[in-house]
């Protein structure tokens, strides 16, 4: 233990710290400024620069001041949904029309001022209508098209069959993100099926849907298309001439080298004479936030960005396909052949429905696609599974429950509580105890108040959300309906895929395996590195702590890359050792193992450091006595070190258990729940319900409350176990 310092020096220490604290408080308080027009977007690179150019020109010309903000895509819609209802949103924001239905339902949008509704292509404009009201000015149409490497492929291309066979002039015929349901859409339409039927019912049904699955599975089986191709890999394989053609969108134009001989064309049919592969087109639009009032300057800025003047710049510099027919004659755009091709592709594409139900189709169809590509399900069974899942997600909302019994119960509870407190107060001389506690309260009040306000408040509100269904703007009180539905697996099999109970089992297994490995590896390394005469001890310690210091969102992605079936390092190692490459994310066992490997890597340094600390704290005499008594190494560990170490490690083990139980990042970034949500744990399931499955916030919150209750019960049991072990 550190000896007490001499008072004069330590007083200095206290004052220094206090001064530092005050200085920092002053530093962080920066005044906010009121600006004229604000606009938010999630653009980057060329598109962001083009928008910058347009906005700067506007500022110079009009003298208005514009504040622009680029928000990370991952946080964008959450930010909009939080800011706009409170009046803190931007005046304008740019977003794909896909969420239009949700935004209008939640009251985030104002209609477009009538004066601005002129000169936009009818199809793009139609995508932004809700009823007869126009929400948003179409800025750009985004759809997939075929990029053909003309240094490899000569001759005309009337169907995908006209592309060279694999291995003739390039390794692959075609690359595209073959596991994404967005890139699968053209094949669905080409086979005559659909995502959502005209009457809003699930469209991905019947033999046509199965045919689409069969088509894309065949492309991979014949070696024409590489498996598990992510966005970055797609453009890279194409750039390196390893694939003769690529299916991608206008965003890929900026990535191509300037001298490349690439032709862009609308997607041809799969086979000669077949139906064309029509992709979905999304329309990016400029939206007017609700609660801001359309100021003259806002309208002027919207005009400057969306109309011809801004559109030319966005098309030329930002590679945007601008839906204004008045522009196609402009000489500066007429020579941009690839842009013209995208314009044609967008015209032939199918407008993506912006309804809430459309957003519920992605996950089921994606699951069917992946199950087929893995060979787990026949196309027919995969189609049936997708429909089942869609029905599960879009099941009718629970009927509203009466709040009266709840208020009654709440009243009774508080009354009982009050009576109990009163009786206890009298019996235990409560007033005296309270009086004696007063000095302590001086020390804790500030922390307690701030915790109650900023941690307790949101938690309680969050937990209360679990009693509601529907959207944030129009919640319906449903009582325990969410819980009942979760605990009964929504009427499906109790241990079926995606049911609460199965996910719970996976979570328990996940926690147990991880914590066991964390502790074993951490303790082993702690013991090795605490050997008194070990050389390079400090070097090892610093290097071994690195996994902890690097942000986990990037190291998890590195691990995912290492587990890639075709290009990952782990399979390269397996092949090098004479083994067979493994499709890691195709099976529960291997995908789970990949997650565990990543999480063990992230977590063992913490336990190593804790062990090192605990060992330094062990009484030396006992250890020496044990070695003098002639105990073997194992005996010394088993009977002397371990019993002393265990209680010291227990608090960290409990904390580690809680962290692992809720370790969202690794599961979400590495396996992403693959295969088929089998490796999802409870938190990632809660997240999916709250954010990706049509924002069923109440349902997600009910999951969160269940996780909370489980952890409270679990840690109390662990604690009791610890107390027993100690005594």
């Amino acid at each position: 233990m550190t000896p007490p310092h001499c008072p004069i020096a330590t007083r200095g220490f206290g004052f220094r710290v206090l001064g530092f604290f005050l200085a920092i408080l002053l530093l962080v308080t920066a005044p906010a400024r009121a600006d004229e027009v604000t606009i938010w977007h999630a653009y980057r690179d060329a598109e962001a620069q083009a928008l910058d150019t347009v906005v700067h020109a506007f500022e110079l010309r009009t003298g208005h001041h514009v504040t622009m903000l680029a928000v990370p895509f991952d946080a964008y819609s959450a930010k909009l949904a939080a800011a706009i209802p409170n009046g803190n949103g931007p005046d304008l924001f740019i977003e794909a029309h896909e969420r239009l239905g949700t935004y209008v339902r939640d009251g985030l949008l104002d209609a477009v001022p009538a004066a601005l509704d002129e000169g936009f292509d009818a199809s793009a404009r139609r995508a932004l209508l809700q009823g007869t009201t126009l929400y948003g000015l179409p800025l750009a149409a985004k759809s997939l098209a075929l990029f053909v490497d003309r240094s490899v492929v000569k001759g005309p291309i009337d169907s995908l069959d006209d592309l060279p066979r694999p291995g003739t002039s390039s390794t692959y015929t075609l690359v595209y993100e073959n596991e994404s349901s967005y890139a699968f859409a053209p094949f669905v339409h080409g086979a005559g099926s659909d995502f959502l039927a005209a009457d809003e019912s699930f469209g991905f049904v019947g033999p046509a849907a199965a045919q689409a699955l069969r088509d894309v599975a065949l492309l991979v089986r014949e070696g024409r298309v590489p498996a598990e191709a992510s966005g970055a890999l797609v453009s890279q394989l194409f750039r390196e001439h390893k694939a003769a053609a690529m299916i991608s969108g206008p965003w890929a134009l900026g990535d191509l080298p300037h001298d490349s001989d690439v032709e862009v064309m609308p997607l041809p049919p799969l086979h000669r004479g077949g139906r064309p592969l029509r992709p979905f087109v999304t329309v990016e639009a400029l939206f007017f936030s609700a609660h801001r009032g359309a100021k003259a300057s806002t309208v002027a800025l919207a005009r400057a960005i969306a109309f011809d003047e801004g559109a030319v710049v966005r098309a030329r510099d930002g590679h945007q396909v601008v839906p204004r027919s008045s522009l196609s004659a402009r000489p500066e755009l007429a020579q941009l052949a690839s842009l013209q091709a995208f314009q044609r592709a967008a015209k032939e594409a199918i407008g993506m429905p912006s309804s809430v139900r459309m957003r519920a189709t992605w996950e089921p169809i994606g699951a069917a696609l992946k199950a087929t590509l893995r060979g787990d399900l026949t196309p027919e069974n995969a189609v049936a599974m997708a429909e089942r899942r869609f029905r599960d997600v879009t099941r009718p909302q629970a009927p509203p429950a009466s709040t009266a019994p709840w208020f009654l119960a709440l009243g009774l509870l508080s009354l009982t509580g009050a009576i109990l407190t009163y009786r206890r107060a009298r019996a235990e001389a409560w007033g005296l105890a309270l009086k004696r506690s007063l000095p302590a309260y001086l020390w804790v009040t500030h922390a307690a108040v701030i915790l109650l306000l900023l941690v307790g408040g949101p938690l309680i509100v969050g937990a209360a959300t679990s009693l509601f269904a529907g959207t944030r703007s129009a919640p319906t009180f449903v009582g325990f309906a969410n819980y009942v539905s979760i605990l009964t697996a929504r009427g499906g099999e109790l241990l079926g895929l995606g049911s609460f109970w199965r996910t719970l089992l996976v979570t328990l297994l996940w926690t147990a395996v991880n914590v066991a490995l964390h502790v074993t590896i951490g303790v082993a390394l702690g013991l090795v590195l605490s050997r008194p005469l070990m050389r390079l001890k400090t070097v090892y310690r610093v290097l071994l702590v690195l996994p902890w210091a690097v942000p986990s969102y990037v190291s998890a992605l590195a691990w995912k890359g290492m587990f890639h079936r075709q290009f990952g390092a782990i399979n390269a190692l397996l092949t090098y050792l004479g083994g067979e490459p493994v499709a890691w994310f195709a099976r529960f066992s291997t995908a789970f193992a990949a997650n565990v490997a990543t999480n063990v890597w992230l977590g063992f340094p913490f336990f190593m450091v804790v062990t090192l600390g605990a060992i330094t704290g062990l009484p030396q005499e006992v250890l020496e006595a044990a070695s003098i008594d002639g105990a073997t190494r194992w005996q010394r560990f088993r009977y002397v070190i371990a019993p002393l170490l265990l209680p010291a490690l227990l608090p960290s083990v409990i904390l580690g258990t809680v962290w692992t139980f809720n370790m969202f990042n690794v599961v979400f970034l590495v396996s992403g729940g693959e295969p088929d949500g089998a490796t999802d744990i409870l938190v990632s399931e809660a997240y999916r319900w709250a954010f990706t499955r049509d924002a069923q916030v109440g349902y997600g919150a009910a999951y969160a409350v269940l996780v909370f209750l489980l952890l409270v019960a679990g840690t109390r049991a662990l604690d009791a176990f610890g107390k027993k072990a100690e005594s």
Binding site: G14, T29, A96, R436, A447, Y540, V550, Y553
Partner: protein, 275 residues
Amino acid sequence: MKALESFAAHAVAIVATMFALYPLLWVLGLAISPAGMASEPALWPLPDSPSLANAKAVVSGNPHFWTQLANSLIVSGATATVAIFLALPAAYALARFRFFGAQPGLRAMLWTQMFPGVASAVPLYVILDKLGLLDSRSGLVLVYATTAIPFALLQLKGAFEGIPIELEEAAWVDGASRVRTFLTIVIPAARPAIAVTFLFAFMSAWNEFILAATLLSRESAFTLPVVLQRVVGEHAAHWGVFAAGALIVSVPVVALFYVAQRSLVSGLTAGSVKG
């Protein structure tokens, strides 16, 4: 025998170090290859012709880089400082006083760590809005600090319990007040634990981006991880730039770890070893 043992120990340490470093080498490889990720299966992660183009894109491709770096440092430093200042007296009271509500309070504190944050972001936003702390670094610091307090409290309480009370009693006899002994005896004795708590709070604030992106609405107020996340777009991402940015972002944390190395070992378990 001794030589064999030492050999085995080094073997274990070397294998573990390789396990720890290999994935980081992939991040590094991605960061210094101009072309992006490997499209050939490979065991060795570093490219033949390294380039600093990605790192340059992170630093000079962003006119606000230095402001945002400063923001990150200020916000994380302030978070750690505020969290410690709020937690220190409370932890002391929990360690030294017996008072009404201490046990339930402590338990509730642990419980807050168990509730997934899925549903609490919007209420938090509303509260900060009402307090007028939206879109300010102070608001962000307050939010981060409160999330760091539970862990800080548990850590510091443990550390204070490990300090013999006799040290304080001697000073009280000499006429020192409770506050004075707290400042001059207890806090200095708990320095390693304070350092660890600081490091933890600093790190969690340093890497966070979802809340920062939601609560802040000015480019010049953003922290670095928010800007870093922007290279991951809806349709495609620049993984090379992302990796380079992540490595640049982790430099200060690694430096802190290095500096705090000694405290880390003694501070993390200060309270739990009562032997």
